[in-house]
Symmetry: C3
Subunit: 310 residues, 3 copies
């Protein structure tokens, strides 16, 4: 297979058939992580730089383990303890890193647009691991893969995304990606947490979770960052939880085969409680498992891993 | 050899014969670190996660180097710069990590019981690298190995542990472990630094270091954490040092072949001074060297390294 | 080739012919980083500890990637999250690390002399990655290599170093190294930023950048640390920039084939502006690229990489 892309910045960079290729490859890589020796050689001698300007556990760990299982070398850089503290611009830092000939830079950055800029400036592959409120394409791919794994197809699936849509790169990337595959999307949020222009996203919008829930196949709960409360986007955790939290009563309202997703880390008792997290409907940990396989597939494809693993 | 254990949480998880197996294997691994190429292949393709919620140099470095010398891949996570800062529970974080199929999680945690909980919940091996005031089993194993290396046997050895027994996971693990092998233990501390119920530990207790020292084969000095002083456990460094510090005068009182140990990092001038640290009796750096070999042996046994290295 | 050195603390530890050997080897290693598989096996099974007590991006990343491209294992330790926070002395920390049998410790430390002390105490190779205001020999080597790559020879080259000479380990190491090869050095700085005794360095000294610039082949701009301003070494960024900053007007005054260097990270608009940084004269990113090759060559030579790579 010829992979035509240099960078992964937005889920819109990939066509439907590109995404299907990623999914197929991810399925074969899932098997690698069940082996006794969880390591295959396709990216031996490749250098992958993990450049994280924001805290991360899941995403960083997932990329790092994915890289190592493909035999790549990884080096990590975080904002603290580096020259970013000395006031160096992102672009200067990136050009310096580029001078050391990495094959890929995986960037998480607090402001939108930084990965695109880097991808345009640098000859190596740049993968967006989350940029501000903009996009988080590998999260959307793992979410879509997890839905497809469960339902067989994304076409016609009713997906409801609940919570802080305005500040969520996960929501944006999922909306863009799911629409390619013909899913029907409903966003549920208090009006203060909906972004300007959301009417043009081509999705349903509601403020009434209880009305939407019985018709939904997938409910994706977004993390509520506690600092939003201080910024007065909503009046309190308890009120938020009451109107938009996924609890036992709401889980029981869901369709028989509907599933619960969350990109993590979860705020137990705020947007989701234990009844929902630990219910048989929850595929939250499958998302994490699939994330590793998706990232292995992406690194393999973007870094020219050559022929498929057998 | 069949190794029957999944986790190492307490030194009491291991039988006397298990510990002897660890010691034998450690002896053969000590040799690996003297080679020009300090690397052997038994854990190739294994993923080891170092999950450290507390600061560490020695222990973390020791596990990381041990893993790499056995060809395992390591990924490190510390509390800062991760989702732990975002309020995720340990158990949620651990389940997420587990979804990426590591073979082993090495956990240091500020509160007792966390490694046991993780071991019960997760299918992978969990190794306790120190949990609150509870246990630090790999430290006890390296301490016991170092004593045995020096004296040939632990049976009948007079071991004196001096200092902040109450807050010391090192003391607890050593007491449990040494008793299995028939060593005689004396704890020396100001009464404020002895834990409730210490009478039931089956050890001698004293507040008079000078009286105990001439009869002891091994004196193990514990680190005094300076913050304890603020909490009024003792009245000052100088007073502590005067009554419980190991200095030249006290070193001279020791038996001819008695040795000095310390788990590190040392507080020079508080619990131990240069005369003791640099004396020929001190095996403090042997402890560190043996720690690496012990951890190689443990990783090898717990991760099913197969046949012994030749 | 027999490499006669254990440590690299000062550029003066190396003879002219040693440095030429490093340069030759670096040239052959530059090619490795252009390969598809950027990894060669000479340091397999070697353990390299990166011990950084000060923030670093370029230098740490460069050493880490260099080590990995030679197949060595690296472990990193920074001041935060380690026992250094618990008050352990550098020497105690280093002896502990040594007990784990690393082949090389790469040390950055805020005070002069620490790497020399470590090198004297420890049997492993110690490489100085910057010690206080003293030396940064690998930076000087990459700077000299970059000048030689550009001009063919260092002999007779007019090199001007501009800025905070007093606090600059980069300046010191470059002066010592360049003098070995017969370069003519001029230091340009406000008098408050010249160290005591600079008259004995055997270099020209000036406060007038505009007078010196037309006669210079290489202008090396040093980073101005903003905290110096608070310490009253100069009266403000704007004034500094006016008298000592490299801007468009000054770039145009330079000799036709003169080049611009900077050890990074740059302070855009203070000691250097975009016209200089992005001019065709700038070899700032070549310095970084060469830094990687120089560090591969050094690790190879110091860790006994055996025969040359083919």
């Amino acid at each position: 297979m010829i992979w035509p892309h240099k960078d992964l910045i937005s889920i819109d960079d990939l066509s439907k058939s590109d995404i299907e290729n990623v999914f197929d490859l991810a399925t074969s890589f899932k098997e690698v992580s069940t082996r006794d020796i969880k390591k295959i050689p396709p990216l031996r001698g490749k250098t992958i730089v993990l450049l994280f300007y924001e805290a991360s556990t899941r995403t960083k760990l997932s990329f790092e383990i994915a890289a190592k299982r493909l035999s790549a070398d990884t080096v990590g850089l975080s904002a603290s303890g580096s020259s970013f503290e000395k006031g160096e611009t992102l672009l200067d830092a990136a050009k310096n890193i580029m001078a050391m000939a990495p094959d890929c830079i995986i960037l998480r950055y607090p402001y939108a647009g930084a990965p695109r800029l880097l991808g345009q400036m640098l000859p190596c592959t740049v993968i967006n691991a989350g940029d501000g409120f903009h996009e988080h394409p590998t999260q959307a791919l793992l979410d879509m893969y997890s839905m497809k794994e469960h339902f067989g197809s994304l076409k016609g699936l009713n997906v409801t995304i609940v919570g802080d849509i305005m500040h969520s790169r996960v929501a944006r990337s999922n909306v863009y990606g799911l629409k390619k595959f013909g899913a029907h999307i409903t966003l549920v949020a208090p009006k203060t947490l909906l972004p300007t222009g959301v009417e043009q996203w081509g999705v349903n919008i509601s403020t009434d979770l209880d009305a939407v829930l019985p018709k939904t196949d997938v409910v994706m709960m977004l993390r509520i960052q506690k600092e939003r409360m201080k910024q007065r986007f909503f009046s309190g955790e308890r009120e938020y939880s009451c109107f938009y939290g996924l609890n036992k009563k709401r889980v029981e309202k869901m369709k028989k085969d509907a599933i619960i997703m969350h990109p993590g880390p979860i705020n137990r008792g705020v947007e989701i409680n234990a009844d929902a997290t630990e219910s048989a409907r929850s595929i939250i940990l499958d998302q994490v498992e699939n994330g590793l396989a998706i990232r292995m597939a992406l690194l393999y494809l973007f870094l020219g891993g050559g022929k498929r693993v057998d």
